[in-house]
C-alpha cells in the first residue's frame, strides 16, 4: 500500500478467523500441558525449564498472531522487543542482586 508521503507500508493483511481458532486450539493444548506437567511428580526435576518454554511459546503465539506482529511492520516488533529486553534486564539484575 502506498501512502502520499511516498513511503511504502510494510503491513500485510491479517489472517482470517480459521487461523485465529487454530492458534486458540494450540494455546489451549499448551495450557493443558502446563497444568499437567505441574501435577506429574516424575517431571519435578525438569519442571522449571519445561514451564518456561511453554510460557514463551504461548506468549509468542499471542504476540505474533493475535497482536499481528508477524504481519505488521518490524518497527512495532522492535519497539516491543526493546521493552521486553529492558524488562528481562531488570529481572536478571534483580536475580544477580539478591542471589549473590
Amino acid at each position: 500500500m502506498s501512502h502520499p508521503g511516498g513511503e511504502t507500508s510494510v503491513e500485510h493483511a491479517h489472517p482470517g478467523a480459521i487461523t485465529y481458532v487454530k492458534v486458540a486450539a494450540i494455546l489451549a493444548i499448551l495450557t493443558i500441558t502446563e497444568v499437567s506437567v505441574y501435577y506429574i511428580p516424575a517431571l519435578m526435576t525438569i519442571i522449571t525449564p519445561v514451564l518456561i518454554v511453554l510460557s514463551i511459546a504461548k506468549f509468542l503465539l499471542v504476540v505474533a498472531f493475535y497482536m499481528h506482529l508477524k504481519f505488521d511492520s518490524r518497527l512495532f516488533t522492535g519497539i516491543f522487543a526493546w521493552g521486553m529486553f529492558v524488562a528481562i534486564a531488570i529481572v536478571l539484575a534483580m536475580i544477580a542482586l539478591y542471589a549473590y
Binding site: 507500508s9 478467523a17 519435578m44 514451564l51 506468549f59 512495532f76 524488562a87
Partner: protein
Amino acid sequence: MSHANAAAAHADAHRTSTGLSHNKLLMWTFLASDCMFFGSLIMTYMVYRGRSVTGPYPDEIFNIPFTSVSAAVLLLSSLTMVLALAALQRGKVKVFRVWILATALLGTLFLGGQYYEFTEFSQHGLGLGTNLFGSSFFVLTGIHGTHVGLGIIWLLTLFALSFRGLVRQDNAEKVEIAGLYWHFVDIVWIVIFTFVYLLPY
C-alpha cells in the same frame, strides 16, 4: 489536484509520515513501557516469595485448578477479541458487537474469579500486609486486575459507540488498538500464571 484533495492528501500524509499508523506506534510504545512495569513487579514477587518469615505460604493457599480455569477464560477472551476485530474489518458490525461483548463478559468473569481468589486468601489469613508474599502477590495481581478492568471499560465503550455509528469498518483501527491492549493483558497473565502460580520455589 483540487484544493480539497490536496488537503485530504496532506492530512493523510501527516497521519502516516512514517508509513505506519501513529496511533499503533503509540500503543506499542506504551506496551513496551508496560513490559518494564510488569517485569519489575513480577521480579519483586519472585524475589520476595520465598522470604516470608510467617505464613500463609503460596503452596498452602494456591488453588491451581481454579486459577487454570481463570487463565483459560482470559485466553479465550483473546480469541473473541481478535474475532471481533476480524468481523469489523469485514464490515460485519453486528458480529463485531457479539464478539466484543463476549470479550468484555469473559474479562468480567476473570475479574470475578480474581475477587473470589482474593476473598479465599483473605479467609486463610493472607492480606496485603501479612508477609512479603502477600504484599508482592496482591500488588502484582491487583495491578493486573486493574488493567483488565480498564480494558473492559474500553471494550464496552467501543460496543456502545458502535450503535452511534462511530465504530465502523473504515476506522477499525480503533478496535485493533484496544485489541493490542487486551492481548497484552493476556500475555502478562500467561507470564504471571507460570512464574507466580506454577513454578516451584
